[in-house]
Symmetry: C2
Subunit: 194 residues, 2 copies
């Protein structure tokens, strides 16, 4: 059991604040106060606000990649349809949890201008991981000519459902997820029967 170093505590507090209020909207005073230290003490751990921020985002990115791979492995003995279904569920659940979804989406859509390229570089790996996992499932259930089309539709489903996490209550969101999933899987099967 690794003990919670001050560095880690700073990262935890910073994650929450950055997620809720963004990079520009969060001050070092707030972070320090949340940790229980004074502002200048932060500089013993990070050499600038940007440095701290990138540290936070790096951890978020690495954790998410690991989650996605682990989840896919746990599901690998199910039917392809089940794998896609539970991946949608688990992914949504993970990103809804804590502030992870918030900061993840915020950084994908609205990274701070000056750090855009650093952040996109971190998330490039994420896209690769998702693509590989999803495609390895799709090849088991649709014909080769359909891979790309179904892949795009599934990613759109993932994105749409993810985005709606922020608009709707958990109950409403679950209903919408199920309905959107139903439409998707019906489309896939209708395609097969053609």
């Amino acid at each position: 059991m690794k003990k919670d170093s001050t560095q880690d505590r700073i990262k935890e507090v910073a994650l929450i604040l950055f997620a809720r209020k963004g990079f520009e909207g969060t001050s070092l005073s707030e972070i320090a106060s949340g940790v229980g230290i004074k502002k200048p003490s932060l500089y013993a751990h990070y050499k600038s606000k940007e440095d701290l921020f990138l540290g936070v985002i790096h951890k978020v990115s690495v954790d998410y990649n690991a989650f996605f791979i682990k989840t896919a492995e746990e599901l690998s003995d199910r039917s392809p349809e089940d794998q896609l279904y539970y991946l949608l569920h688990k992914n949504t659940g993970y990103l809804r949890n804590d502030e992870l979804g918030l900061i993840f989406k915020r950084m994908m859509l609205f990274p701070p201008e000056s750090l855009r390229s650093d952040i996109y570089a971190m998330f490039e790996k994420t896209e690769d991981v998702m693509r590989q996992v999803i495609q390895s499932i799709l090849v088991q259930m649709v014909r080769e000519e359909e891979w790309e089309q179904v892949f795009d539709a599934y990613l759109c489903l993932l994105d749409g459902v993810f985005e709606q996490v922020f608009y709707y209550s958990p109950e409403e969101h679950k209903k919408r997820l199920e309905n959107s999933w139903s439409a998707f899987i019906k489309g896939v099967y209708s395609r097969e029967e053609k």
Copy 2:
């Protein structure tokens, strides 16, 4: 032809900057400089930064509602399927244009903390408008028991496609839109044939 008052010019410049850099990330100096006046002159038109910001968002919200209704009317003589398809296209095109999509999405997902409730109040009407327009199309093409399910799937499609505007190149995005749409409409028809 209404002439471009200084107030309007301020709003135009502010829209672009707020969209790109967010509320906290944009300073009044930048806005003033973009307009070609000095910072204190802004206060002759708006009583605070928040006041200016809400003015911008209000216009965005009103314009978008008008666009959505107008587009639906222009499409009303088409088949229901065509209406849904072109609505998806036109909506994506509108929101991709200029900085409108950027600020729209930013405000839906990450409004500045202190203005969250004001902003959500403005966009409430938007949701109503979209719901009514879309449902009036759906009732023409699916059975009553299916309305809700297909509506949810279509909204998820809209959200997913919209979000992807920000990730992909126009060409890549168009391909994904078409593929996601194909899957959606196949699902709808498979349902009908049941």
